[in-house]
Symmetry: D3
Subunit: 284 residues, 6 copies
């Protein structure tokens, strides 16, 4: 991830503007320009590292003379005390940039860590843990990258990545007296040749109809584990199967053991828990 | 909040770009342009509403002909089933915009709801629940607004809002052989006349020094409740006192009862939990 | 297309900046503010209309009081003299905006018209005419929209829309001693579940390998028509087939008659021919 | 052109956003980060080179560690097989950026090549081949630069560069009962002292009026070659003369031989033909 | 000026960001949302009005429900107490936007007023008062518009508007052993046909050379009034003459009486004096 | 100031766009690419230097190969002839960028110089010279930085920096029958704990009320010097006192001698006088 897309630099600039990084009276009044320090980024909890490059980009955006060094690879396991990286240079610049750098790093590492907990929970089953489009606005790229660092996989990056027929689409067409089968057939006929068609269903009847109509992917929405198992019997490998809705750490293994291919967890990105990481400034 | 600052419109545009809202094959292939629907935003959990205006702005940015109506005021209490607002118009437009609108609304209502839980936990004590600068990059304005909707107060909006001398600042000056007292005096002398000086201390000795040096605000960092109580005895009203660090719902009331003026909770914004809200599309 | 994505408004603003629309000495010196006129947009050649909404948005961006009315639907057939739409209001504003509005409208209608010529050339065959990513930078959305208005279909909107393994990818992996079959299998294993895998091949041997490896789509690159016909025998419906490279109006029907599913034409967007459309200002 | 204006970097960023360069599953899944390659940009047709610096800027924007080297100067003649430049570094980065770099390079070289064909067609006559404001929105700077590389000259960069009284302006003032002579005199009186006044005329009568009124430049709009010759007799060196409208490669030499000073060709930029250039990735 | 170019809206947004308009604790804490007021913009000094539309745009950008009404036309004469316009609506919104609106209005009216003082000082002479490119960065359009409102004329809007050969250009070419005459001839030969060539000279010898070489415009740089008079004798109407450098209100009439065509005054825009205008909030 | 905030780079880009730096026919036609020169920035008047880093950033934005060297520190005293800095490289690039670089440098040094004149006028009194929010839109950061370089101090950077209750706020609340005392108390109660409350008063009665109500800062608006002296007797150190309104170089010392803490001068930024600085291009 050493190269970041333009939108991430724009997000960093937005963060600098909203934090008024260059109008920081605390550093301005107290920290003489000549004080040079080393900031050590250190984990204070266990988890998975993600976002060190973004943190580095923040430091550079605030002061291009700061030197940033990563001490661990992206995706590395962290324990309390793990040394993640250093930033060396003007103490005033480091202090101005610290909070924004940590806000990125803690959020991204938090997502990676939570993802990894799910990934470990289903180890040995074939199921992939995947994310959703329930990301913080403006953070899609970073949130999804963090999921990958945690060992998860990405569902659609955005609307363009595939056809996903949800209950509201089905409802809209039902109001026109178009049934599920016809909906799926229209999608298959109209879709660009490079993308697949996924359908959200809530009942076994829906599973049957969707598979028969040729849907490439079936999303089992909020189904009980037993019903999922029956659904897998119906699908019998004719489609990829995704389990979705209300799955948490307590239930995820049972879901995975039904044989579904994918388990999507919205909470990975919509209910993030920042991983505790600190920056300790040291002087020599 | 019916008027939003330019940076929020930029964030909405960034969200539209990253979700490829205008390249949605699902709507494009399946939903005829003439289908008109009503989307009902409905709470699926209890909490506090925040962000309906932002959700409305998202719908308008995607299709200026959509009509958005709020059914509840910002800050209103929500129960499962509460009807929050409606969006009426092209079903295709509503479906394209739905996820982004919900991503804002669920995050903001989640922050308001969590804040409110803390506010209720300290009811009757004098302490204010305040936020921190640990917000999602690009979301500072929205996150802090949501805290207010939940009954909380805002700490510094950004670095420019006050002088806050943290451990790293103190460390930097100690490396120059400048002691805490001198640091505070320099801050008081150098600060603009419109802002105050806050100091983070970890020990009772620090509290004493800071108050004697004339700090306007003392932040008790990660102190045990008993130590906080002693600190209050030392301060004796000569400064505003903020408790910070590692306070959760179990401990917050005890902290409040020490008599501190402010309790800051980073988790309100760095570890948000989305409030479950759905959009149900209906046709007449 | 009555709603345009934010990036199109940014492109319009860029066009206004580069044309210095608001620093137009000709209108400023000559056209009194009170002159009101009607500009009639009129085709001067045969073709297909695309882009009237964008032209309208240009006029509104220059002067929000201009009234724009479309007289024909997007995708409509145009003959010399066809009246496309009107813009009414300040003559100075219309004259300032005219060139930019026409630059969009002529380019988009040109693309739609050329596409339509290809679409008509293959009428009755099953093949779809599709575009490529060879669009003018910044015009992806508009160029691809115009292709649809001309009766064509869109290939990938962007890199994220599907896996397309081209010669350079194959070459890169061959340098690592990874063969075509293995490349395709890695792609199938690693791809997100919502997208398909397409492979570019130049020989019948390549076709065989690709189909056997399970590629969803085979792109026949620069193949002779006879060879394509053989390729279709090999594929036998096991994959979608796209013909690509060096196909023009003289050869396209023969290509279509081989039974390929898709024919991609880069020239639709990389070598556009503006459709001649004029704006005639009239006064009453 | 080694330095590009800010608007070109913005256009490059827009191109990266619309192509989702940083969400490329093909490279992500298939190309290991450690593969290093050399991409050779090679002409596949004859023409004139323009845009290598822009292509280089694209590669750098996608990966600042890519090394770009130009092997030919801007404006150089190209033959099939000509080696234009190399880009060395991460194969994944080169592949992600390739299409956008080529989209710029092929369009710009196409414009330069077509311009050059016209320039050669009028060699020996005094006439300059000039462009128009009929450029792709957002590409004004690049399109006009390419015209210069092809040996052409630039007409107005934008509206601010001169007064050009066109038929619609004349029509607007005729509706106020202001005749051509008066229009020109108003323009001469009102114009800033640094710019000239050009008038579009369609008849010899118009030519006479315009020259007598003191117009600095006369544009002969859509005139027959014989009429142009008569027009030159009327003007007799009292004004610069531009021929415009419907001139193509077959007629341009005859037009030039009338002695006009400038021949403007809208098609150079509104109906571009991409020059075929490929990037061949090589491994050592 | 009722329509503003996109760059002015961007400048307004930048002003809102830098003033943190939407984070105004004074209004937030003190002004209840329901208080409606009328703000009267009133001159407190004599001068010329410019910028009311920009002020209006600021109010609308902060709160689209504010109603703005201009009571005087742009360019109108102001005396202490003159009522310029009103803004009606939420008192909180008016107070948040007030300072930015006034910052624009006072600067622009200040420029218009100073310009007008110069224009009146040369009344009856033929000379035009013109501005320079010495404008506040980002304010070119507004500063030059204000000059026009004050009765002045605009010199080049930007570098593209004409060729102006200044001492540094002459020096650069002298270092290549190219003399003034040759410089001017190269400029005349190389210039686009729509722009003119102006030369800055400091001596009568320079005037002679420049006129003889065919320069369209001669700028007399920092010349004494007597020397200017001699220069006019040399030029004898063969070129437009501009006086420039160190001209102030005391000397401008004498300069104008030499018969020069243009007098440029950098101070109009580089040393602006804000016109005193207040906003008085009234309640009914 | 060697690092500039993102908004300053945006302002530089806006300046480049409005000056059409990359469309400069004078340099393009006359200055061969190979001419290398040294531009010396030299003061032509006495004052204080501010903005050399911004000027340097302009040169780099136009041509990253230009080498910029500062010869004096920011805040240094300038006399006519003082050598400020050099820029070395392509003469064409230096000439294209010169005007914008000087526009920044002259404005900022002008503000620093004027500020310094005030600072020297009150030397020995305790009063600080402070600025206001009356800055050129888009220049807040630079204008306030220049004030500091001149020895002045900054008042609020923006609205968020403190509560300042002005006459219009008081008027708004009076319309609700809320008196001054109550207004101040509400402000004290509602303000964030990190900012102070300042009140603008025009009479001694107002002073008394404000101090008694506990305002942290009293702004004496447009008071006569004698009245100010009485006000100081009333305040007796219970609040910080700021004098504001109509103070100029003739009166500032008398105001300072009343013992006020702060004297704010709007004219420092709303009525700037550019300091005369030239760039002389030299060749070796």
């Amino acid at each position: 991830m050493s190269q970041l897309p333009p939108e991430v630099y724009q997000l960093i600039d937005a963060a600098i503007a909203e934090d008024q990084t260059f109008n920081d009276p605390t550093s301005q009044v107290l920290i003489p320009a000549e004080i040079i320090g080393v900031g050590m980024l250190r984990a204070k909890a266990s988890g998975i590292l993600a976002g060190m490059d973004v943190a580095g980009a923040v430091f550079h955006r605030v002061d291009q003379d700061l030197e940033v060094q990563a001490l661990l690879a992206e995706g590395a396991a962290l324990a309390p005390g793990s040394e993640i990286g250093t930033v060396t240079g003007s103490a005033g610049s480091i202090l101005r940039a610290e909070r924004i750098a940590l806000n990125f790093l803690q959020r991204m590492s938090g997502i990676a860590s939570d993802t990894n907990t799910y990934v470990r929970a289903v180890a040995g089953c074939g199921a992939r843990i995947v994310d959703t489009r329930k990301t913080a606005p403006g953070h899609r790229y970073l949130d999804k990258y963090a999921v990958r660092m945690g060992g998860g996989h990405n569902h659609r990056m955005n609307l363009a990545d595939g056809i996903l027929i949800k209950d509201n689409h089905i409802e809209a067409l039902r109001s026109q007296e178009v049934g599920l089968k016809e909906v799926i057939q229209r999608a298959l006929a109209g879709a660009s040749h490079t993308i697949k068609v996924e359908v959200e269903v809530e009942t076994l009847e829906g599973v049957r109809e969707a598979v028969d109509a040729g849907a490439h992917i079936i999303m089992l929405d909020n189904m009980a584990v037993d019903t999922m198992r029956e659904a897998m019997q119906i699908v019998k490998g004719r489609a990829v199967v995704e389990a979705s809705g209300g799955i948490d750490l307590e239930t995820v293994r049972a879901v995975a053991e039904t044989g579904v291919d994918l388990i999507s967890i919205g909470g990975l990105t919509h209910s993030t828990r920042a991983l505790d990481i600190s920056l300790d400034l040291e002087f020599t």
